[in-house]
Symmetry: C2
Subunit: 207 residues, 2 copies
């Protein structure tokens, strides 16, 4: 007897919730929060509205759950990046992974956290604020990592972790806009390399 197969009462759900969330994620990613209509969502998920609402709450809840799936799946690399051994390696992996990810062909271009609700109507205010928090969250992860790098002697004493982190976050967000505009992976890699050369010139410590 395998675990967790206790039969549940009631009519069984005919769709897989995780698969449905992946499809919803793709739409929110492409269209943004307001640009994704219930009609397109239900059509793509292959379920009708009452099923969607019973399973996920409402549009905003569905977005938040899609977003959780986004952060634990496609962009988990941001969490891994801070484990690189040096500040330079962190910056390198961050920018190179971003160039790759933002232009990958198996999902929408650009970063959902950057673009899903930048300018929008009032109805998206909650989501807009939530995404702002997420943006600061990954930037702050970089701040902490660069503060550690200073202690490690891995960055010069006059280095400013906050500025360095914001510089990388800003490049990432700009690269996201570029990717959505049609800029290729190779072009983004050139930008990343430009930024990284400069990084080395400035922080004359080891790679």
């Amino acid at each position: 007897m395998s675990i967790n197969v206790k039969k549940l009462r009631g009519r069984p759900r005919v769709f897989d919730m995780d698969e449905a969330l992946d499809k919803a994620l793709a739409i929110f990613w492409e269209r943004g929060y307001e640009g994704a209509s219930l009609a397109e969502l239900t059509e793509t998920l292959g379920i009708n509205k009452p099923s969607l609402y019973a399973a996920f709450g409402n549009k905003e809840e569905l977005f938040k759950k899609s977003l959780s799936r986004y952060t634990s799946g496609p962009v988990a690399f941001v969490r891994d990046v801070i484990n690189e051994p040096t500040a330079y390696k962190v910056a390198e992996r961050f920018l190179l992974n971003a160039a790759e990810f933002l232009t990958a062909k198996d999902h929408p271009k650009g970063c959902m956290i950057v673009q899903a609700a930048l300018s929008s109507g009032e109805s998206a205010d909650m989501v807009k604020d939530l995404l702002i928090q997420y943006r600061y969250a990954y930037e702050h992860q970089l701040v902490l990592r660069f503060e550690k790098a200073k202690i490690d002697g891995d960055l010069p004493d006059d280095a400013k972790p906050k500025s360095l982190a914001k510089y990388l976050a800003t490049l990432h967000q700009g690269m996201s806009v570029q990717a959505t505009s049609g800029t290729s992976k190779d072009e983004l890699l050139e930008i990343a390399e430009l930024a990284l050369e400069n990084w080395q010139n400035k922080n004359k410590l080891s790679k």
Copy 2:
């Protein structure tokens, strides 16, 4: 008799078209193309829908006219920047002006060309493509300027105008996202300075 005061037939328009465009611009800038509703537009302009349609065509036309006013007004500095005497000065003015402009207090944060239609529903596809063209347009202005700088001996022979231009455009677009997220002018200036220090390190020519 002053020029151009020939009396026109018909009931005179009660509102000033340029003032109305400025108000429409502020809304599109803040809300984006889709996020700006006809209701909010007419209410803010102080006119009703038939007047708006008679004067400007439709929502998309109104957006395009607002956008023209944006490019000839608030962001005209991008056109001026390429007249700076050296490549470095161009980069400097571009980034410093951007930090100032994107966080100014007399208009919405961020750049309309970057954010007014990044992710959106199908109804905004035309506007989305138009804004992509505008983004490439100002990037291309920088490309031309840096090609000239190479000829002038103002940039090293191995400099890549396209990459440098895209690097600046990417920073600008990221700074726009940052400004919309609440980042201050001073924080953006720190990023600009970071990028400019690196610029000097890399292109070891004069300021």
